[in-house]
């Protein structure tokens, strides 16, 4: 890494890892924040023909600034199509037209099920009231692949969710298929410590790579269950200088999302 750029932060490594999940031509359901940066980066690198969809009703967005929310006006100006919100869900998600969706979570379990509803055992008297479901259950149910992006610690990576807002691989194995979920299920989890896949048989989350400077011990410490580790565990690929420049100078010059 040369002096001009400076070493990549963990957020930048996350964005770059997420970016690699985007394939050219994909219809991608994007959220704000890191997923948005990841897709913007993919558009400029290897996936110039991917389509950005926002549940607010935008298809083919071409934002000229960093959107603050999934309904930012910059997503509309210059987009290919604006749809009623219901049709975005009906036609793009439930209709099976979505290749990739990004999700976040307050809690995640070993099968990639997510909680964004409440923290605490009693729904009626929650310790923390979280935002709720939004569009996540439908992205998770219908997209051909989903990728979860979250910072990792023991309160987040839990043995047991307080509430299951969004289904991943359900109870693992074939249980997701058995409930008739049409989409392809979670493909990756990307955190500030490492990148995870899911075992093709058990569907359990499996650590595939750790970020530069992170130890396996640190990852285990930050996981609330006995973590499965890939036999071919490697180091997460870091973005090169050109990519960092793109991220820092063009996509998020004010370091809104790339702080940490």
């Amino acid at each position: 890494m040369t002096s001009g750029a400076g070493a990549p932060t963990r957020a930048e490594i996350m964005v770059f890892a997420a970016c690699r999940e985007v394939r050219d031509g994909d219809c991608v359901f994007v959220g704000v924040g890191l997923p948005n940066l990841a897709v913007q980066l993919a558009l400029r690198l290897h996936a110039p023909r991917c389509h950005l969809i926002y549940e607010s009703g935008v298809f083919g967005a071409r934002p000229v600034r960093l959107p603050i929310s999934i309904g930012d006006p910059c997503l509309v100006s210059g987009a290919a199509q604006v749809l009623p919100m219901a049709e975005t869900f009906l036609y793009f998600l439930q209709g099976g037209r979505t290749d990739l969706g990004f999700l976040g979570a307050a809690q995640i379990d070993r099968y990639g099920n997510l909680n964004t509803t409440v923290v605490g055992p009693d729904y009626d008297h929650p310790r923390v009231r979280l935002p709720g479901a939004g569009g996540a259950p439908d992205i998770a149910l219908n997209a051909r692949r989903t990728v979860v992006i979250a910072r990792q610690d023991r309160r987040k990576f839990v043995e047991r969710l307080d509430f299951r807002t969004t289904v991943g691989w359900a109870e693992g194995g074939t249980s997701r298929r058995a409930m008739g979920a049409p989409g392809g299920g979670p493909a990756r989890v990307i955190t500030d410590l490492g990148v995870y896949g899911f075992d093709a048989g058990t569907r359990e989350m499996t650590l595939e790579s750790v970020h530069p400077g992170v130890t396996l011990e640190q990852v285990r410490e930050a996981t609330g269950w006995d973590l499965k580790v890939s036999s071919s565990l490697g180091a997460t690929e870091a973005p090169d200088e050109a990519m960092l420049r793109l991220l820092r100078e063009e996509l998020d010059p004010d370091r809104i999302y790339l702080k940490g």
Partner: protein, 298 residues
């Protein structure tokens, strides 16, 4: 057009040809006739002149529809001969109300296996169409009607304009164009004009169909004649009136197909034959939509 039909329309396909009075895909239908496609199940809310021609040409084994006729004029005699007397061959029919067929498109576009509606109570339609069923509301206990999703093999959708990727804009009657496109496995869009991407992206609310569901974009001016295209040309009512005479006589209908379809290589030749005078007569004066500002957000 030749290539699009040849690649995406196959014998035996279920083909949705939409466009409600407006944007009827005559050019595409003629190309299907010209390429002698067979055994098609043709789906359309309002089978009209084009369906009469396709049935007479022997392209169809089945018609799935809501209302059939020559709108404002009378009957489709080729279709009637096929249904009433199996002439020149039998034609299977499967009929709905407009609303029922719209709900079939909606269900398929939405990834739902069925769509609930109140629409067939008190009618004899369920007696002759086994695809009309019922469903009970889990909240009120009310029995509603239900139609199944109609997943077509191909939808052919006419529009005013699209970019080369297939982002397609329509104004005036939008009919069921969006639902038909999302409900089909393959989509051919036929437009009066292919425009630069910037034109489409300057007004994203105007886009009916996104590129991602479109397999082919064909630029073919006057492709909806003798039906109309809002802002481009009017319905050629003389042709609708003339059709009433032509379709009554199978021999005359045959001559029409020979002269206007089989005997012409493509739509450009059709246009030449149609003549400038007719085109001029059908062009409306301007009536602009007025400006709208999306704002430049940086």
């Amino acid at each position: 057009m030749q290539e699009a039909v040849s690649r995406f329309v196959r014998d035996g396909d279920t083909v949705v040809l939409e466009g409600f009075t407006h944007l009827i895909p005559f050019a595409a239908g003629h190309e299907i006739i010209r390429q002698r496609r067979r055994d098609l199940a043709l789906v359309r809310l309002t089978p009209d002149l084009l369906m009469d021609q396709m049935v007479a040409a022997g392209a169809a084994r089945k018609l799935i529809f809501g209302w059939l006729g020559n709108p404002g004029v009378g009957s489709l005699h080729a279709v009637r001969r096929a249904v009433e007397r199996a002439y020149p061959g039998p034609l299977e029919i499967e009929e709905y109300s407009h609303f029922g067929l719209l709900c079939r498109y909606k269900a398929a576009a939405s990834g739902l296996p069925f769509f609930p509606l109140r629409g067939y109570r008190g009618t004899d339609l369920p007696r002759v169409n086994p695809h009309l069923k019922q469903v009970v509301c889990p909240f009120t206990g009310e029995t509603l009607d239900a139609v199944s999703a109609l997943h077509a093999d191909v939808a052919i959708v006419n529009a005013q304009r699209a970019d080369s990727q297939g982002n397609t804009q329509i104004w005036g009657l939008v009919g069921a164009q969006r639902e038909a496109a999302f409900a089909a496995r393959r989509v051919i869009v036929v437009v009066e004009e292919i425009v630069p991407e910037d034109v489409v992206r300057a007004d994203p609310n105007r886009t009916q169909i996104p590129s991602v569901v479109v397999d082919a974009v064909v630029e073919e001016p006057w492709s909806a004649h003798p039906s109309f295209v809002q802002g481009y040309y009017d319905r050629d009512n003389a042709a609708y009136l003339a059709w009433d005479r032509i379709t009554r006589d199978p021999a005359e209908l045959e001559r029409y197909l020979d002269e206007w379809v089989h005997g012409l290589p493509d739509r450009a030749a059709y246009l030449t034959r149609l003549g400038e005078v007719t085109q001029d007569r059908l062009r409306p004066g301007p009536r602009l939509a007025g400006p709208v500002d999306y704002g430049d957000y940086r």
